[in-house]
Symmetry: C2
Subunit: 192 residues, 2 copies
């Protein structure tokens, strides 16, 4: 399973509680994986059982107690072993794309709202990436360390995907207006 390893990496980058991991994985900025808190707690329990991680309870005077997990040497070597295993190609899955294929047999204008939403969400994601990029990887005096370069490289793929999405959304919106003009759009065109 990959969630195990995704969590291990995240914990390697920064020891955290399940709650923190859940928030990071929910936003999924630069993580390339996603999970809900229920799943995360389950996997953390399993990995602690297996000795890949260990926890320390941080008593919060004001906040609730937090169970902070850190990767053990055993976890580290499990990870090291895992990266040498062959990894299958990751298939893009997109519900929106299925809807577009379906809309080819129906009215594509029905998808304009969804398209606008996706465009907005990808825009937000890209902005978040850009902010992170500026904060962590540029404007420093020193050149980036090899570790940072790699982390940056992963982020770059995320950025490239968001840009691809955004360009596609814009193109597609224009296409729909061209092939299936809405009455109001037609009216606007005619009265202008």
């Amino acid at each position: 399973m990959s969630l195990d390893h995704a969590l291990l990496v995240s914990l390697l980058e920064k020891p955290s509680s399940g709650y923190e991991l859940a928030r990071r994985f929910d936003k999924s900025i630069g993580h390339f994986w996603h999970a809900t808190h229920q799943q995360i707690y389950k996997v953390l329990a399993r990995m602690e059982e297996a000795g890949w991680i260990e926890s320390e309870v941080h008593r919060g005077e004001t906040a609730p107690d937090r169970k902070v997990f850190a990767v053990t040497p055993a976890g580290r070597s499990a990870l090291a072993e895992w990266i040498t295993e062959p990894s299958p190609i990751d298939r893009a899955r997109s519900e929106l794309m299925i809807k577009f294929r379906a809309a080819a047999f129906d009215d594509p204008r029905k998808l304009l709202p969804a398209l606008a939403e996706h465009r907005a969400e990808h825009g937000t994601l890209l902005a978040a990436y850009r902010a992170n990029e500026a904060k962590e990887f540029s404007g420093h005096d020193r050149p980036l360390s090899p570790q940072q370069e790699l982390q940056y490289q992963v982020m770059k793929l995320g950025i490239a995907f968001e840009e691809t999405w955004i360009a596609w959304c814009d193109e597609t919106q224009a296409l729909i207006h061209r092939i299936a003009p809405t009455p109001s759009a037609t009216a606007t065109k005619e009265t202008s």
Copy 2:
């Protein structure tokens, strides 16, 4: 569930047997979804039960019998209803990216073989897309129908993603050689 609808669309585009669907979904050319045959047979059975699709057994004289499914009017309207439902943003999931994040704490050179494999597979996929593009969407006298334009637009996103992947793989390979030169690469450089 989306697999139901992905199969419905696929059957709308072309009535097929479970086996055919499995092959198409396995190659995942322009499909944006994926499933194994076991899962597909299960979902087909469920959808036939629900009246969304109906089957006709084609006796093969030489080949084995095929159970060919086609979408019913009920299935069609289920699809029409589904496309108006809000669709959550699709999160990119990539095992390879997790491995890169892990490799930042280990030796990134370990990922060079996996990187080359991914590069090759995305290259193959892109070539398949391009071949399909040429066959179905260009070189025709007539301009594309609105339906074709939409199908082409979906394919374009697939193409864009493959191109993004390929460019990233190439960049990353160069990066790894730069930050963690292999002994042989260094030797090559020094002797050249």
